[in-house]
Amino acid sequence: MKKIEAIVRPHKVDDIREALLENGIRGMTLLEVKGIGRQKGHTEMYRGSEYQIDFLPKVKMEVVVPDELAQTAISTIIKAAKTGEVGDGKIFISTVDEAIRVRTEEVGESAL
């Protein structure tokens, strides 16, 4: 099984979710994160002193899929997440040794 971690623009979350569901990927987990990358932060001001906000709000979506669905998932996310502007985000893929469904204690891909 593969774990796909996609760090994306927050306002793209809905599109990505819909695209994944359409492609039969029904499980995912969302995290609010702050990111630094190439995208520039912005400057805020308070009582006359400026300060730099480097960390930008992003959303990290974690999707665990069977190996054979990884390609679909990745393509789907990229398609829905892309705007072409700096800051579109990154996708990291890693290997999951095992998955368990708590309710049924099923293990492996059937747990997804």
Binding site: D14, P57, V59, Q71, K82
Partner: protein, 461 residues
């Protein structure tokens, strides 16, 4: 000094302070109903708008509204309260250029202060309807124009001894003068601005954009309800015990009835008692009773409030169907119920309460006369306020611009316009970020897509 002057002045000033406090009410309702990312902007708008109104009304608005002149606008003592005036002398003893208020036995500056807080209310109504997309500067400029020109001219017609007053049009505390003028100006703004990005789907579907804080909105509605005890009973501009006690009760009853009826209508119609509708319903009752409050019985005020509370729910749904995007329901509350309240005078007025004013309305045997005048007045003021406001918005649109850039709208006006955020230390909820304020859907087809994805699998499996 004469006891009556002292009593009336205390009453007028206390009432004016309560009306002033409504600025907090509006600020809270409107920021509560807006999103987190636009909170500093709304707070700033609702804060500065009263300051701008104070200057504009002092500089020119007061003179246009209450200066002696034609039936259409004031012409004497126009600028900076500069006209002759021997208030608190009143009636025949009055000598000065602001004769329309010569009946009030309070000093000039008490009259001015009381009228100023009403002018400010008209302006602050606009703020909510145009929220979450308007440029800060252009809102400030429009507020100035509204309070300097639109509000006082319409006000002159009715409270300044102008042509509508002569025809026998009655608006006790301002359903038309304040609320529907503010509402029409807001409507013009909403039309020129267009809806917030993402509010209406291409399919015509309405995407609700929930407000970020119900506690703030609730603070706001209680403060407004309190303020209305200055707004309506204070509009006697005299401490007339029977009148002010009655008006306090009609005002409260309409608020209570509007609150309950909007709750029931929402519960039945939409399945749940939506707090945001309940808040609007209470305000709708208050707006609707503002014109008739002094001329009606407590029973009538309960009916007026009940109807207003139902109207507001349907109005909110209707404006959304018309794709007129009003984040806080200002149009449904102030415009629609301002008009309804004005008409209600023609239906529910009873001569017995304020003899020699309205006479009896339709439901109390007075026939269609009063009703007709009220309809005419509501229409005339509406046409004037809407057209002139529309023109002002267009001028601003073509000069300083009225709408922020889409990226700024998406990121939030707080950072774009003010360089700060309202709640820097609170984490936003991830999925709520998924707001509809940027265009959805797949972007440009992704040429390299297949290959890259394949690479992944090739390299790994």
């Amino acid at each position: 000094m004469d006891n009556k002057v002292i009593l009336d002045t205390i009453w007028v000033l206390v009432a004016a302070m309560l009306v002033f406090f409504m600025n907090l009410g509006f600020a809270m309702v409107e920021s509560g109903f807006a999103r987190m990312k636009n909170t500093v902007n709304i707070l700033s708008k609702n804060f500065i708008v009263f300051a701008v109104s104070s200057i504009a009304f002092w500089a020119i608005g007061w003179g246009l509204m209450y200066g002696n002149g034609s039936g259409y606008f004031g012409a004497e003592g126009l600028f900076g309260l500069s006209g002759a005036d021997n208030s608190p002398a009143s009636g025949d003893a009055y000598a000065g250029v602001y004769s329309a208020l010569s009946w009030a036995t309070v000093p000039l500056l008490a009259k001015f202060f009381f009228q100023l807080v009403f002018a400010g209310t008209a302006a602050t109504i606009v703020s909510g309807a145009v929220a979450e997309r308007i440029k800060y500067l252009s809102f400030i400029l429009f507020s100035f124009l509204l309070v300097a020109f639109v509000y006082p001219v319409a006000g002159h017609w009715i409270w300044g001894g102008g042509w509508l007053a002569s025809l026998g049009f009655w608006d006790f505390a301002g359903s038309t003068v304040v609320h529907s003028v503010g509402g029409w100006a807001a409507l013009a703004g909403v039309i020129v601005l267009g809806p917030r990005i993402g509010k209406y789907g291409k399919d015509g579907k309405v995407h609700p954009i929930p407000g970020h804080s119900m506690p703030l909105a609730t603070i706001g509605v209680f403060v407004l309800w309190l303020g209305w005890f200055g707004f309506n009973p204070g509009s006697t501009m005299a401490a007339d015990p029977t009148a002010i006690a009655r008006i306090a009760v009609t005002t409260n009853s309409a608020a209570a009835a509007g609150l309950i009826s909007s709750t029931i209508v929402a519960w039945v119609l939409l399945g749940k008692p939506d707090l945001s509708m309940t808040i609007n319903g209470c305000l709708a009752g208050l707006v609707a009773v503002t014109a008739p409050c002094a001329y009606i019985s407590v029973g009538s005020s309960l009916i007026i409030g009940t109807v207003a509370g139902a109207i507001v729910v349907f109005a909110v749904l209707a404006f959304d169907r018309l794709k007129l995007d009003d984040p806080v329901g200002a149009l449904s509350v102030h415009l629609v119920n301002g008009v309804f309240g004005t008409i209600a005078v023609g239906l529910f007025a009873q001569d017995q309460f304020m003899p020699n004013t309205t006479g009896d309305g339709l439901f109390f045997g007075g026939g269609f006369g009063l009703l007709g005048t009220q309809l005419l007045g509501a229409a005339a003021v509406g046409a004037f306020a809407f057209v002139v406001s529309y023109a002002f918005w267009q001028i601003l649109h073509n000069t300083v611009g009225i709408r922020v850039r889409p990226e700024e709208e998406h990121e939030g006006l707080d950072i774009g316009e003010h360089g700060m955020v309202a709640y820097p230390e609170f984490a936003p909820s991830p999925e709520r970020y998924a707001d509809p304020s940027l265009p959805r859907g797949p972007s440009s087809p992704s040429r390299a897509l297949k290959s890259s994805a394949e690479v992944v699998l090739e390299r790994k499996t």
